[in-house]
Symmetry: C2
Subunit: 314 residues, 2 copies
Amino acid sequence: VNGRGVVLAADLGATNLRLALADDAGQIVARRRASTAGIRDPHVVVRMIREAAPELLAEAGLGRSSLRAAAVGSPGVTDVDRGVVIATSYLLGWRDVPLREYLEEELGVPAAVDNDVNLAALGEARAGAGRAVDDFVFLAIGTGVGAGIVLNRRLHRGSAWTAGEIGYLLVPGTSESPIPRGEPGALESMLGGEGIRRRWKQQWNAERTRLPDNATAAGILDAAHAGDPLASEILHTAARVLSCAIYDMALILNCPLFVLGGSVGLHPALGESVSALLAQRDARVQPRIERSPLGDDAQLTGAIYLALDRAAQG
Amino acid sequence: VNGRGVVLAADLGATNLRLALADDAGQIVARRRASTAGIRDPHVVVRMIREAAPELLAEAGLGRSSLRAAAVGSPGVTDVDRGVVIATSYLLGWRDVPLREYLEEELGVPAAVDNDVNLAALGEARAGAGRAVDDFVFLAIGTGVGAGIVLNRRLHRGSAWTAGEIGYLLVPGTSESPIPRGEPGALESMLGGEGIRRRWKQQWNAERTRLPDNATAAGILDAAHAGDPLASEILHTAARVLSCAIYDMALILNCPLFVLGGSVGLHPALGESVSALLAQRDARVQPRIERSPLGDDAQLTGAIYLALDRAAQG
């Protein structure tokens, strides 16, 4: 750590809060993880961040005055200009939370907030798979499904901050019925970890698999990779709808690179199947498919760069 | 026309060349149309434009020196930076034509070129339905299908100049099979004028319609509006795939407005059906659907503004 100070980055999920302190080159100098299970009050979350800050600074051998800025990735629709989390899923249940203001009050430094998938895309743009391209899409495929879209080296966030909400995408193979509020979207229900587990339960049959009916998404993908018949079928369905979604986004955006992230997206079985399906489809549209080199750290890395940008603004 | 001169704009199609002279407010002061049927040589097309220029200027009571710049919309993939038409459909059959250079040589003024659908979107952005919004999509639904995408008030053209090639989009109801080269795309074959005519011929049955089996797309849409059973079915299929395509683009881009243009897109029957289908689908995604107020002049209007921008650069 040189004399130019550090920034604090946080990746807030429904069950975990991940924190890192990084220097002005984006290198992490201290990190920790805390459980947010059962915590819904944004003030409590911000207090957890405030209490962790001096401990992380001490761990890095720094005083309080070394902290220059902070940034938090939130799992929801986020108004970046006003610093407000407009809405998260039911797990946090936030509505119109002025998170940036809370952070600045508690930490006493400039702060910034953005949607976590957008931050993952920012992380890839600055320090990951997207460094050499102007346009790419980061696909966060975990429990749910979302996309962070970088065009001309800038995040495209959309007119109401919801660009990339691809969990509801309609492609061949998805349901076409309107989705009730709170239910997973058409694409998400075939591709997200929660959707994969539900479909597994529905289709489970002891004659077609050695896995139990309550297998995890990771377990199902591992078994598919190893040739388990039922798991292979579930994987193939997920890969098929994902390959259509990527094909459509590549046509619309003319985007040469799709980066797979999230617990399901990072699994090698999914990326391989999707690349094979796209190769069969159409010579016109052949985007590269890469697994995120930042892996679990994509969101946190983006938060670091957002905090560094905020520090540079002063 | 004031003393600041005029620009020449051209909209080049496979069968027609439309030309206009416009003042610095974008107002058309003279216009004409010529047939390009059977003409494939770009030099011949440029010579037609060169020969029309002094006649249009004379018609407006202006001398040659009043012409400040020119712009042409081409029906193909266009490299705007280099001024090169990379590829058009088989009707023109152009490959890597340096159209801007040809125009500048023949006309002796600065010139610019772009894809015609992008120019239609530019026209709507400056003088049509898109004036009041930052983000919108122009849908050109004529013989073929394409989109011009405006994000943050700028055209998004993509990494290889093909953004918005939505004729190949995969949505519920389209074929999922790979499309051979030269064949209409999956969406286009159900929604474009040529696709509608083909499907009409395939499904034609004298008991279900009063129209002949060689009806035009416009005739089929008129008949659908008037309640003809077979025509209504063809319209409903087109509206259904278009509503899914708009829904998907609205999710990906978070874009509040879709402007329908082109001979099929401008037909009231299509817009009404699509709006009704979207209203049923999902409260989350309710973009406005508007018919292009510029109508047939959308492309030409965009070419005027492109030429005015070029004139301003000098």
